[in-house]
């Protein structure tokens, strides 16, 4: 049993474990060599907000087959994190796919950074530190983040002294 809090995204956790098994696979049997790679690709898609409900079904079916057919212990256990997170945290998967949100705020591609104009003092700290040059605004006036330029690095949030940067 692994204990985690609400800051951990269950899809990302499954992806993390699978990255390990994909890296460790020896490449001998088909389910582990290709199956785990495909599961990882699907999980990556979901964490990037590009997943579909079909993807979740494919994950379930792949996981069951890999567990059933892989040659060694590594392959036979590699789908466990996927199966267990789908079983216990199915809602989180659906949220990623349908709402394109990650409640644990771990899936960067799904995050949106905005400036709360009521809190923003227009100090410019965020804009000066933004590596993507995505924040604009005049001094002492509320700033604005360009979502197309934003790389979701979180730098603005960490530099804001007025708690004006919101993430959702």
């Amino acid at each position: 049993m692994i204990v985690m809090d609400e800051d951990d995204c269950m899809v990302s956790v499954a992806k993390f474990y699978l990255e390990f098994t994909v890296g460790e696979s020896c490449g001998k049997c088909t389910p582990c060599r290709i199956g785990n790679k495909r599961m990882l690709e699907i999980l990556t898609r979901i964490t990037e907000g590009k997943g579909t409900m079909d993807d979740i079904e494919h994950l379930k079916s792949l996981a069951a087959t890999i567990k059933d057919t892989a040659l060694c212990g590594l392959g036979q256990t590699s789908p466990n994190p996927v199966l267990s997170t789908i079983d216990n945290f199915y809602d989180e998967y659906v949220e990623h796919v349908k709402k394109h949100t990650c409640r644990a705020k771990q899936c960067k591609a799904l995050l949106t950074y905005t400036v709360n104009p009521e809190k923003c003092k227009g100090c410019g700290a965020c804009a000066r530190n933004c590596p993507a040059d995505a924040i604009m605004g005049d001094v002492r006036k509320p700033h604005v983040i360009n979502p197309f330029k934003c790389i979701r690095c979180g730098m603005c949030q960490s530099r804001c002294r007025f708690d004006a940067i919101h993430v959702f």
Binding site: V22, G27, T30, I34, T65, D68, T69, A70, L71
Partner: protein
């Protein structure tokens, strides 16, 4: 059901008529060609009481076992595994050389796969290569590892193996080198067992058709002994159908100007090699300690490559005689060309071979005169079948015809060149009669026949006991060569064929798909052809006698040495 101990679920299934699908498994029973890594996971079955599915190829039957080979769980797993294989496969079946002969294609049809749900993922990128003999198209590889097993266990060449790991695994020579930079002998047995189109022969059919349609070229065909016992299979005829007459007609219909026979070259080989055997034996019996014995056959080009790469210190032992195909080429482009008044550069000699190494052999510099090769190129039995199909020739209904004269006349001794032990038997027929001056009491030498890896026999030559040995597959050849190097070999003549069962199991023949019965049927047909020939000893071939009288003089004459013998090179990788 009851089965002997050690029977796998796959074999048990076969016994009761249940064909469990497999991709990686191959077992050419009675030979050492075997691969059961249990890696494809398509043969999985449900065993009651077992947590996961069991691979039928690697799970032995146990008492009171209850097995389900077609439960929903099993079928779903097989389907998903096949879909995964397809997700890392080019799926360009329409233009794939293996189309309609592909085991993956057959499996996908059988599993009724209509969608490829995982195909938007990353595909493996692999190094491909086109050598003179073998084409590697490794993105088609499904990692069954059959080629690896054959290259390492059957041929002991050890060129192919898995490199890298996980999704990046590839089957290739160490450090992802090219075949040309390795000890590859081009035996092509990797091609013979590849279930998909990853390893195929280099295709020369377009070049051949260009030459045939070129009015400035005279194109002559020479099909090898083994071709006529395999070609029919490509046209739905049952294995072991002899198609010698149809083959000659088909070659003429394709547009070859002259249709001769490599069997003529085989008879010639026996004349030269037989004379060499007798020469060395004579010296040996006269007490000459420097004479190199055993003399080894040199007809098999993969075997020649093998000892050039691995035994450069023993290059004096093999006979210096060229292979039958090269002897034929040398004679066609000299004796016959002069006779017909055809300039060498107008002549295109094409060999039709059960072999891939022959393609490589054609490119050897020592077999060229001013850059013009004795045999221009070599096509396989399969390539010939493709040409015949493309030309709308109804092969099964073709009338029979004879080969052209004079390079088309052959004996039963030449026919049996196509099987392991055949060259030895053909040589013994001639050596016996020339050495003893007596007629053979029985023509067949059953002691050198069969599919055992290494066979020994002692032949009584007027009181002198001639010890002979026949080996097929290069791992058996390695055993013999290692003994020779250690000075522990006590034979006078050794025959080696690189392919399991000899040329009938060559890499250019129609695919056997792991069915030993196919090879056995070809073998029986070959001996039947020999039995049916009016002349069964090479030295009695009238056209061979004429060739010596008109042109060569006698075996091992200066002209023979110049045209029919070769020398070997140290090709070991330093």
């Amino acid at each position: 059901m009851e089965v002997p101990q050690g029977t796998t679920l796959l074999e048990a299934g076969e016994l009761v008529g249940i064909e469990i699908p497999t991709l990686c498994h191959i077992d050419l029973k009675g030979t050492c060609v075997k691969n059961k890594p249990a890696s494809c996971r398509l043969c999985v079955v449900e065993v009651e009481g077992r947590r996961n599915l069991a691979p039928a190829c690697a799970t032995n039957c146990t008492p009171d076992m209850v097995v389900h080979t077609n439960s929903a769980r099993v079928i779903r797993a097989r389907k998903t595994v096949a879909e995964l294989i397809l997700s890392d496969h080019p799926n360009d079946c329409l233009t794939c050389p293996k189309c309609s002969d592909c085991e993956l294609q057959r499996l996908v049809m059988r599993l009724n796969i209509r969608q490829m749900p995982y195909n938007d993922g990353e595909k493996s990128e692999r190094k491909n290569e086109v050598t003179a003999a073998i084409t590697r198209n490794m993105e088609k590889c499904i990692y069954c590892r059959r080629c690896e097993s054959v290259c390492n266990n059957v041929q002991s060449v050890g060129v192919l193996g898995a490199i890298r790991r996980g999704f990046d695994t590839t089957i290739a020579p160490t450090f992802d080198r090219m075949f040309k930079d390795t000890d590859c002998t081009y035996c092509g047995q990797c091609v013979a067992v590849c279930p998909v189109g990853a390893l195929t022969e280099r295709d020369y059919t377009d070049q051949l058709m260009a030459d045939i349609t070129n009015p400035d070229k005279i194109v002559i065909a020479q099909p090898a002994p083994a071709v006529r016992f395999g070609l029919g299979e490509e046209f739905g005829l049952k294995p072991g159908t002899i198609v010698t007459g149809k083959l000659a007609t088909a070659l003429r219909d394709l547009g070859f100007d002259y249709v001769f026979d490599t069997d003529f070259g085989a008879d010639l080989t026996i004349m030269e090699e037989g004379a060499e055997i007798l020469d060395r034996l004579k010296k040996f019996l006269a007490g000459d300690k420097s004479v190199k014995l055993p003399i080894m056959t040199s007809c098999c080009p993969a075997w020649v490559n093998f000892y050039e790469h691995n035994y450069p210190d023993l290059l004096d032992y093999p006979s210096s005689a060229k292979s039958p195909a090269q002897m034929f080429g040398a004679i066609a482009k000299t004796y016959w060309a002069e006779k017909m008044g055809i300039p060498r550069e107008k002549l295109v000699v094409v060999s039709i071979m059960p072999c891939l190494a022959k393609k490589y052999e054609c490119t050897r510099e020592e077999f060229k005169v001013d850059g013009n090769p004795d045999v221009d190129y070599s096509i396989t039995t399969r390539e010939l079948a493709r040409l015949i199909k493309r030309a709308n020739i109804n092969f099964a209904n073709l009338p029979e015809s004879n080969f052209d004269s004079p390079l088309g006349e052959s004996t039963g001794a030449a026919a049996i060149f196509g099987v392991t032990g055949g060259v030895m038997e053909a040589a013994l027929r001639t050596v016996y009669e020339v050495y003893t001056g007596k007629t053979l009491p029985r023509i067949n030498f059953d002691e050198v026949r069969g599919f055992d890896g290494i066979r020994e026999a002692t032949i009584d030559l007027n009181g002198f006991e001639l010890k002979v040995c026949v080996a097929h597959t290069l791992s058996n050849a390695r055993i013999i060569m290692d003994k020779l190097r250690a000075g522990e070999l006590d034979y006078h003549v050794v025959e080696v064929m690189a392919c399991p069962s000899g040329c009938i199991g060559g890499a250019g023949q129609p695919y056997h798909h792991g069915n030993i019965e196919v090879l056995k049927a070809r073998c029986e047909a070959l001996y039947a052809e020999d039995e049916g020939k009016p002349i069964r000893k090479s030295h009695e071939n009238p056209d061979i006698k004429k060739l010596y009288k008109e042109f060569l003089g006698e075996p091992l004459s200066e002209k023979s040495h110049h045209l029919l013998h070769t020398h070997y090179f140290d090709k070991s990788i330093k």
